[in-house]
């Protein structure tokens, strides 16, 4: 056993209050593979912190978590999955941030009889034909936030959008998702280079296109670059994007350039319900920063797991699966249940970037899609 997991186990034992002996005393060992170093580490750290916060608050002694860093490299993730299955002998896996890593790990893990709860990635291949009874997605199907953006564009009366995304599978899914809901014309459609940092050429094309709105999906540093350059370009068409480019973690780096931009999300810190209030306060108290979307997903994932542990033993996979599928936990998003392919059916909101004191953050300004599932559920049969 590695040092890190030892520390974690010890930590859990210290934090865990007396422990409920509730008849389902079967231990559950969770293997979390997430990105903790290198580029994109912020997302993995938030998922981990959200997850660990929920386990700490629950104080359930029967839950043991082993955490490993995939460095955002698929081959490392695959090896860690092998390790968790072969040597740690975990029951449930979770944690992966990126779709390409999920595609490398999830099919093999579920084929070997492990539960997988996705706290972030939701590739279409795993929602449709490649769905699996042991695979649950607690975040969203990849297209969802983009579909919500398309729906919002209709509501806002946009009829001529310019859309852009990086030239890689998730980027192609993003534009497909937007177009699925959006009913207007397209002024232009561009695939940019993955990792591109200069968008002057694309912004020039947007300026020349005669569009009335811009939709973009550029995760991480790409989005920061785009927004800063867009703000400086003098093009003042309204911009819409999924929450990823406007999340708590990176918003401070975008700064003024993001102010007022509408983005779509299934969660925000001002969603009005008890669970969310508790989560936002506890997260700030524990880590001294505002929680992000990713932290909320990690938190929900842990609570889903804990709710299933209260109902069934993991040693009885059918019962455990049924318990998971009920989604009988208080989600910080409020409305949350699983569809037939075990992907979320939930509400999507439109948020606006605002400034609270010195901190840039989001506030919800309306609903985009309510009780929305995904487009691939029909293709899934177990």
């Amino acid at each position: 056993m590695k040092l890190k997991s030892l520390i974690l186990a010890a930590g859990l034992a210290v934090f865990g209050t007396a422990g409920f002996a509730d008849g389902h005393a079967a231990k559950v060992k969770v293997g979390m593979i997430t990105t903790l170093s290198g580029g994109g580490a912020g997302l993995g750290i938030d998922v981990r912190d959200g997850f660990m916060l929920a386990t700490k608050m629950a104080g359930n002694d029967n839950l043991e978590v082993v955490i490993e860093d995939d460095q955002r490299k698929p081959e490392i993730a695959v090896q860690l999955a092998d390790k968790m299955i072969q040597s740690e002998k975990v029951d449930v896996m979770t944690g992966i941030i990126w779709s390409n890593l999920a595609m490398a790990v999830v099919p093999a893990a579920t084929a070997q009889g492990k539960f997988y709860l996705s706290p972030n990635a939701g590739p279409s291949a795993l929602a449709g034909k490649g769905c699996h009874p042991l695979y649950f997605n607690v975040a969203w199907q990849n297209d969802n936030l983009h579909e919500a953006a398309g729906a919002y564009a209709n509501d806002a009366g946009y009829a001529n959008s310019f859309i852009l995304a990086p030239n890689y599978p998730a980027g192609q899914d993003a534009l497909t998702g937007y177009k699925r809901m959006y009913e207007g014309e397209l002024a232009g459609e561009i695939y940019t280079k993955l990792g591109q940092t200069d968008y002057a050429a694309e912004i020039a094309q947007i300026r020349a296109s005669g569009a009335d709105s811009v939709f973009f999906f550029l995760p991480g540093g790409m989005g920061i670059s785009f927004l800063k350059q867009y703000a400086g370009s003098g093009v003042d068409l309204p911009v819409i994007g999924p929450a990823f480019s406007f999340d708590q973690g990176i918003l401070q780096a975008v700064g003024e350039a993001a102010l007022g931009v509408k983005n779509t999300s299934q969660w925000n810190k001002d969603i009005d319900n008890e669970a969310n209030k508790t989560f936002v306060e506890a997260f700030q108290a524990e880590y001294g920063r505002l929680p992000s979307l990713y932290a909320s997903q990690g938190y929900d994932t842990a609570n889903l797991l804990l709710s299933a542990m209260d109902k069934a033993s993991v040693t009885d996979p059918d019962a455990f699966r049924a318990a998971l599928a009920e989604a009988d936990f208080a989600s910080v998003r409020g409305n949350f249940r699983f569809g037939s392919n075990q992907h979320p059916i939930q509400d999507f909101y439109v948020r606006e970037v605002i400034k609270e004191g010195d901190v840039f953050t989001n506030k919800i300004i309306g609903a985009s899609l309510t009780d929305h599932g995904d487009a691939y559920a029909a293709e899934c049969s177990y």
Binding site: S37, G38, G39, A41, G42, I45, N167, E189, I190, Y191, T192, K193, G195, T197, D198, A200, A201, A204, Q205, R207, A208, G220, G221, M222, I224, S225, K228, Q229, A231, G232, S233, G234, G249, I250, Q252, A253, V254, G255, E256, A257
Partner: protein, 305 residues
């Protein structure tokens, strides 16, 4: 494609090229004078950007931030030269590649240690934000024009420094015969530290200038580093003039390739396929350019054998 759009894209290419030049100039000087291949040059670019973001965050002054980027990167460069690089001059390129690769690992994760995993904020000063209207009705971001201007000024200054000053004479002498100028009583080790710090400072400045319109994050230096290598290989290693020409060529090829190629393919292919093929080819265009140049001139455009 309209002429206005084309001119705008050419300006974008120029701006990109000028930034690449600031990176490439340091690399090529360091190679020319010390015969050292420095993979960690991208880390110095990152250090400049982080220093600028930190100082801008603390003081709110962009000018101070730029000065900080120069100083921090030059200081980091000087320290690295004194502690590590100095031992590598007599080694073969393999050792240099590895040692500087090790420096990348240390700098990247060290920066993450200090500043955390999230990107930092650095914005352009209000005085330089927003677009200006150029003759012909072209709207263009002022800041990018300033970058082009600053970059060209620095290029001019560098040429003057090398052609006209005492240091420049020593640098040129160092390029042509290292042992000789040491024998002539020039303190060669001080000269090396100076050249290394100069190159580092330029990279840091480029990092800060670009950081203001992009995102300041760990790993930001690596893509630029590889492009800067392409630039100096095309221009000829050791040649400042080659670095300038190479940088502009790469900047223009990359920008215009990305804009024009999908359109070219769209004339005879379906739009979706044309975008895919065009974008794929555009992302490889500068490497194809480099292979083509080396095919005809194995030591680059201005390189000596």
């Amino acid at each position: 494609m309209t002429t206005i759009l084309l001119i705008e894209q050419v300006l974008n290419g120029l701006q990109f090229g000028v930034m690449l030049f600031l990176m490439a100039a340091g690399l090529t000087l360091i190679f020319g004078v010390m015969g050292l291949i420095n993979l960690a040059h991208g880390s110095l670019y990152m250090i400049g950007a982080f220093a600028a973001a930190a100082v801008a965050g603390a003081t709110g002054s962009f000018v101070l931030a730029l000065i900080a980027s120069l100083v921090a990167a030059a200081a980091a460069g000087a320290i690295v030269e004194l502690v590590v690089i100095r031992r590598l001059y007599d080694r073969d390129h393999l050792d240099q590649v590895l040692a500087t690769f090790a420096l990348i690992l240390i700098f990247s994760e060290g920066t993450r240690w200090l500043f955390g995993s999230f990107p930092l904020f650095l914005d352009i000063p209000p005085a330089l934000s927003g677009p200006v209207t150029l003759p012909g009705g072209i709207e263009y971001p002022l800041y990018r024009l300033v970058i082009i201007g600053v970059g060209l000024l620095i290029a001019l200054g560098l040429f003057q420094l090398i052609a006209r000053t005492r240091i420049g004479i020593r640098i040129r002498a160092g390029e042509s015969d290292r042992e000789m100028i040491a024998a002539l009583g020039v303190d060669i080790s001080k000269l090396y530290t100076l050249v290394f710090a100069l190159g580092a400072g330029l990279a840091g400045l480029a990092g800060a200038l670009v950081g203001a319109i992009q995102s300041v994050q760990v790993g930001m230096g690596e893509p630029v580093l590889i492009l800067a290598f392409v630039v100096i290989v095309i221009g000829g290693i050791g040649s400042i003039r080659g670095a300038l020409v190479g940088a502009l060529l790469v900047g223009l090829t990359d920008t215009l390739g990305g804009v024009l190629l999908p359109g070219v393919f769209a004339t005879f292919m379906e739009p979706a396929a044309a975008t895919a093929v065009g974008s794929s080819l555009a992302s490889m265009s500068i490497y194809i350019l480099m292979a083509a140049v080396l095919l005809f001139k194995p030591t680059g455009l201005y390189g000596s054998a």
